[in-house]
């Protein structure tokens, strides 16, 4: 029997691997967007300082740059690698799919990333150390290079949602994958957001420079705040456009689960940030970090975290290009790359038959090992999006079945909507009966609770789910 190229499974109890990814992702987005946005603020201020012969403005840039070095370039660069590691262990096949489609794009981004890291040191340490015109060129080149890293990564992130048309499936061309339907909208949202985040951090820096002249602080604040307002407006506008470029499964997920939970928070973030920007512009000398720092955290936790979670969730059941499911299964043919769907193969042979990382003792379901097999199958098939412990925060499966201990009822869901792929945001999971019942038995036993397991009153014999079939 032909095995499929599945990897071992990594499972984090309670929160699943998805939250690990989300936490690292949120930290990275905050740090990296701030740094790219700040690069443009620096360019703006450096241009003003050069044109108007106002070198004192560079004091502000220097202070901001040093904070940026510590905050964005340490945390941003490490968590950038961290996201990569996190997706590797959460979705090795999805990551492999992205790498093999976009390796040269990532490699080009690496070139930018390298010059960016050298550039930030040059930018900060060479203020007033080299002539102003040379430094101005350096500042603009640095800003453009920083933005280029965003241009390159957004194409890949957008493809993770979907290509938006059949071209890539037919040609396999990186061009068709990269310039997908929601690329420009997504880029607009991120470009706008980066300016907003950079301005908030910029206001923190201004708030901490109280020993400097009021004129410098006023000038710095009034130069950067309009960028924040424009950036915010761009982000909001492009976000509505972005919603129009989403696939059907994402829209269903968005309207049924995500907007009801996150919309109010997002509106609040936009409103409060806008008001604070206006207040900062009107009264620059009244900036206080006991307000700005909480605002920054507020944007990160109530704005960025839900945004990252939403983007992750909306993609479901896929992790890349609507052809790889979160559970590592290839869900459709991609003739341009010679890729074949694996769903029918799994349907015919089951996961136990085709997965390389199944111990021989678990390849056949028996009365004794049914729960153990079910647990492993649940981790493989469901663990990417669901935790398996009752009451746990990541869409836990036992609670999704309302605490049911009825194996037949649970199996009916797996054999119905899941088998037929009729839930838009869930993968089609078509398994042989013994595997379905193994999963159902495991979920039922989870709902029965740890203390009941030794004498588990789960009757599966009437379902015909014996290991000998």
């Amino acid at each position: 029997m032909d095995m499929l190229g599945m990897y071992p499974t990594f499972y984090v109890p309670e929160i699943g691997s998805a939250w690990v990814m989300g936490i690292i992702g949120t930290i990275h987005v905050v740090a990296s967007h701030t740094s790219v946005g700040a690069a443009f603020l620096f360019a703006l201020l450096a241009t003003k300082a050069y044109r108007e012969s106002r070198p004192e403005l560079m004091d502000y840039v220097k202070r901001y740059g040093k904070v940026l070095l510590v905050f964005s370039y340490i945390i941003g660069s490490v968590t950038g690698v961290g996201i990569w590691y996190a997706i590797t262990i959460a979705s090795p096949r999805g990551t492999a799919g992205l790498i093999h489609n976009f390796v040269w794009v990532w490699a080009a981004e690496w070139v930018y990333f390298t010059v960016e890291v050298i550039g930030v040191y040059a930018l900060v340490y060479l203020i007033e150390k080299v002539d102003r015109l040379t430094h101005l060129k350096l500042t603009w080149a640095f800003a453009l290079a920083s933005w280029a890293t965003m241009l390159l990564i957004v194409g890949i992130l957008s493809f993770m949602m979907w290509p938006g048309n059949d071209s890539w499936y037919l040609t396999g061309s990186t061009n068709d994958a990269f310039y997908n339907i929601n690329f420009f909208a997504h880029l607009g949202v991120r470009t706008g957001s980066m300016l907003v985040m950079a301005v908030i951090v910029g206001l923190m820096i201004a708030g901490s420079m109280r020993e400097k002249s009021p004129a410098l602080r006023i000038e710095a604040v009034r130069t950067i705040v309009p960028m924040g307002i424009l950036g915010g407006a761009l982000a909001v506008l492009m976000f509505f456009y972005y919603l129009e470029t989403l696939p059907y499964n994402a829209k269903v997920m968005l309207h049924s689960h995500l907007l009801p939970r996150y919309a109010a928070g997002m509106v609040l973030v936009v409103t409060i940030t806008f008001i604070y920007f206006l207040a900062a512009w009107a009264k620059p000398l009244f900036l206080r970090n006991w307000i700005t720092v909480p605002l920054f955290l507020f944007v990160a936790i109530i704005g960025v975290w839900p945004e990252e979670r939403t983007r992750e969730s909306m993609r479901k059941p896929y992790v890349a290009g609507q052809y790889i499911y979160g559970n590592q299964t290839i869900a459709r043919d991609v003739p341009g790359k010679g890729i074949l769907s694996e769903i029918e193969h799994i349907s015919k042979h089951g996961i136990l038959g085709i997965h390389p990382f199944i111990p021989e003792t678990l390849r056949t379901v028996s009365e004794e090992n049914r729960r153990e097999v079910g647990e492993l199958l649940a981790k493989i098939s469901c663990g990417n999006c669901h935790s398996l412990e009752p009451g746990s925060p990541l869409r836990n499966l036992p609670d999704k079945f309302h605490g049911s201990t009825d194996v037949e009822l649970i199996a009916a869901f797996i054999n119905g909507p899941l088998k037929n792929g009729s839930v838009p945001y869930m993968p089609r999971i078509d398994l042989p009966e013994q595997e379905t019942y193994a999963i159902a038995t495991f979920i039922a036993s989870q709902n029965l609770g740890e203390r009941n397991r030794p004498s588990m009153p789960v009757d599966t014999t009437q379902s015909g789910a014996t290991g000998e079939q």
Partner: protein, 410 residues
Amino acid sequence: MEADVGFILNTMRDPAGIPAPPWLFQVLMVLTWVAHIAFVLVTLGAAALSIVAFYLRHHHPHWQQLSIAMTKGAKIGVSLLIVLGVAPLLFTQVIYDPQWYTASVLSARWLIIFIFTLIIGYCSWFVFYYSNKPEAQTRLGLFALLGLGLFLLDGLIMHVLAYQSLQPDQWMNWYAPNGQVDTRGASLHAIQWSRFLFIISLSAPALALYLLAYADYYSRRSDRPKDYRDFVRQLGRRIGKVGCLISLPLLFWWLLDLPGHLSTSAHTPGWLLAGALIILAIQIDRLGSLPGRGYLLLFSGLIPLGLMALWREVIRVHAMKPFGYDIHDYTVHADLPSTILFFLTLLGIGGIFGGFLVLLLYRAGQVEGKYQADRTIARLGTLSVVVLGLWITVFFVYGFSIWVRHAIGF
């Protein structure tokens, strides 16, 4: 899995294939790893020396000055080793994806620990950097020790992942010992101490070469007087000789530690590396005390590093051979536009803007006071902005045309 490891290893390759010939990725992987490991070794060496110098600073003012310089060097070095580590990892994932992903999942928690310990270690190093002043209290050295300790732990984690990826026949035993599946990814399953310690030990010769070049670089600066530069040069020479002497036995240990089934040709680069280290030690001894030879010695250090990178790859190729895994079998779906994108970016942005940055930093650092860019630097600066603007323009025009083509269904 037990049935046919080789067959499964090949099945686990990504079905999308790769967008260029496998040898190209292999060459890029080896070359970029040389750049990465060079910064790893210099950084570890500089970090260790900055701590030693910090504790010796009351013996002579030179130690204080050196400690501050090495602390700063290590700080910048960590940034660069991280970013330079991205490329070899990327290219590894292209041609050795089954090995890398499986090894990572099997020790998944350690991969996450890597991220957070690197952040903590780096932040700790920054605390030391900001506090490393003549009046600093001795206990502040603990931040540096913590930073260096965590950097070494991260190095060990990366070593383990690389070593685990060489042993596909063990994966199932690690994932499901006695048939009990363990999805926690909580263990580091295999460590080859000889390999790890040898590579880490090279940080001493690497530091030595850095010190020799450092002494030459600051020859025009009065704030680094001659007696200080001579002190640094002599220290570099001493560390270089002792470092090579320590590295050699570790290298022989690694050679002896290689699995018996590897053919003789797998050992050849290792012996060449031993020869290169001996020559390097002799050169450091001969030329190390002479001003003006620092850069030559620094660049000659790339020879042993290149041999080590080559050797790692030769070992991997030989380790995979019994399983029938050969990267040259990888399905190729050539993708010319994205290949061109990378190489033009490497030349245009890496070459011009990168060149501008490196040259500017190099020259500005050599002078005291303000540096006035000469014509070459000024032109490179202008060209950098122009090339970046052009790159972004082409990116949008080209992309928009494709996007429109998709929109009209053509």
